[in-house]
Amino acid sequence: MDPITLGFSALIILVALIAVRIPIGYAMILVGGVGVAFLNGPALLFNQLKTLAYGQFSIYDLSVVPMFILMGALASKAGLSTALFRCANAWMGQMRGGTAMAAIAACAGFGAVCGSSLATASTMGRVALPELKRYGYSGALATGTLAAGGVLGILIPPSVVLIIYAIIVEANIVTMFAAALLPGLLAVLLFILTIAIYVWIRPEAGPRGDGIDAREFREATLGVIPVVLIFGIVLGGIYGGFYNPTPAASIGVALVWLYGALRGRIKLPELIDSIKETAGTTGMIYLILLGAELMKIFMSRAGLPQATAEWIIQSGYAPMTVMVLLLIALILLGCLMDSLSMILLVIPFFWPVLIDLNGGIYQGAEGAGFGMSTEDLKVWFGILALIVVELGLITPPVGMNVFVISALAKDTPMIETFKGVMPFFGAEIVRVVVLLAFPGFVLWLPRLLAG
């Protein structure tokens, strides 16, 4: 069988398995594993399995993942996620759609310490959904806002997906985090604008909140101070370069734990609950990582990515055309796959293609295919790829964030959530176009920090 047919058949089987509720991690493990055994014999697969899982689970740069998840779990027990939302709501709640805007702002704040979209969506969903319901928001807007807000967990650095990207292309993680910051804030702005337009067209979907008195306003505002302090120490340390993401996440976990313990909100039962929550989410993410690795091995052996990359180079398309096609392909693939899997599967093969189109690994800005040095291209493409793969979290049929929010909002049909999330999808497309047209948006902050 030729690589294209084989690769696409496998993708179709994968989607079919996912469609019949086989857990996504196991579906990828099954298709990838059986695929490798089919191509090169079971003995080869069995041998690779001797070390593959340990190798994947012991990647140093991934060690931040369970830590940021634990930090998120502890932060919600310590009342930090509530404090964030309460403060944002005190400032924005009186506007039409204001509580939904506050939920977006709080998601962004939480995203600044949490590296995972799913963790952000589920934490903030728990905090904000009851409030949105209490104020009479439509199910579509309430759940759509939180499913979209959840993606700020990876759009605002730190971000697990960005960490994986940096590992693959050998980029500096801190540079990537810095590059993601302004685009992330742009996403917050566009999401809030989206809500404003949404409630302007459909005023009944997002009623005004009650006015609050000055005392409540002051308390809510002051209540956010510990959050700002803790997040400042963690992020300041990363951007200031005092420590790498793993020690930073460790410090974050320790500080949130200490704060919760001092406030009497984290005692042994809460600590145990947080660990259980971390165990479930971490196990789920790592199984997907292992599945994606097996899928990658199978795809490499089948030759699908190589054939596609070869085809792009032969096609003679202009660099920007290839970039746009690549981003569209990632958006389409994102309908079926999860963001981490896509980065793991696609980037190792397509990054070399972009290097070639740009003029080589040491190409400077002068005469480059994309009009920037290959080092800058690494950063710019990383942010664009981050945005489009993250879109996969909210697009049907497989939209992880939508699933997470649906599980929390049992009374809203999933189809309503998908409808509610579509305006935010539109906002994201606007953002991709802006960043494609103005790479400076991405490159300015890393340059500033590098001096």
Binding site: A19, R21, L49, S63, P66, T246, A279, Y286, F403
Partner: protein, 170 residues
């Protein structure tokens, strides 16, 4: 997570879930130790005395902890599934599909247990060690193999849960 996560259990499935939960909590304690070790290393670095090998201790500690989490992920049904295509299906149909998922998990756990046992032998026989502390890597495989055995047990508990639903017992 579904209702299965909060189901109260008795008998052998109750004992199994208790054991799996305890094992995950031990993994969590290990993760917290890695966290505190990193904090100690940062504080130590300020006075020029970082924890030697903090890097490799983090790698091993997190890997062992994550394996310890896998059985808990299975038994609490925390693996992400796409429910949209089958949202109209009845509970027995869903139980049947979940039964398939649990079978895959069981097969995966047993296969990996077998293969990583062989992997442990390689690690020991060829003498793989970490770079700075020169810790033998095969030692990390011991708790990991226990985790995989518990993952198989967790899958059996899931199988039992879903067959109960199929038979109309639950």
């Amino acid at each position: 997570m579904t209702d299965i996560a909060n189901k109260s259990r008795t008998g052998w499935t109750g004992a199994a879930v208790w054991l799996i939960t305890l094992w995950a909590l031990l993994g969590g304690a290990l993760l917290l130790s890695v966290v505190l070790m990193n904090v100690a290393s940062i504080l130590g670095a300020i006075v020029g005395n970082a924890v030697p090998g903090d890097f490799e201790l983090t790698e091993i500690g997190v890997a062992v902890a994550v394996f310890a989490f896998l059985p808990y992920t299975q038994v609490t049904d925390a693996n992400v599934t796409a429910d949209i295509f089958t949202s109209g299906a009845g509970p027995r149909m869903v139980a049947f599909l979940k039964l398939l998922g649990a079978l895959i998990a069981l097969g995966f756990a047993l296969l990996l247990l077998w293969r990583m046992y062989a992997g442990m032998g390689d690690q020991r026989d060829y003498g793989y060690t970490t770079t700075i502390l020169q810790l033998p890597v095969w030692l990390a495989f011991i708790p990991i193999l226990i985790s995989l055995a518990l993952l198989a047990l967790a899958a059996v508990v899931s199988l039992r849960d879903h067959t109960d639903i199929l038979r109309g017992k639950a």
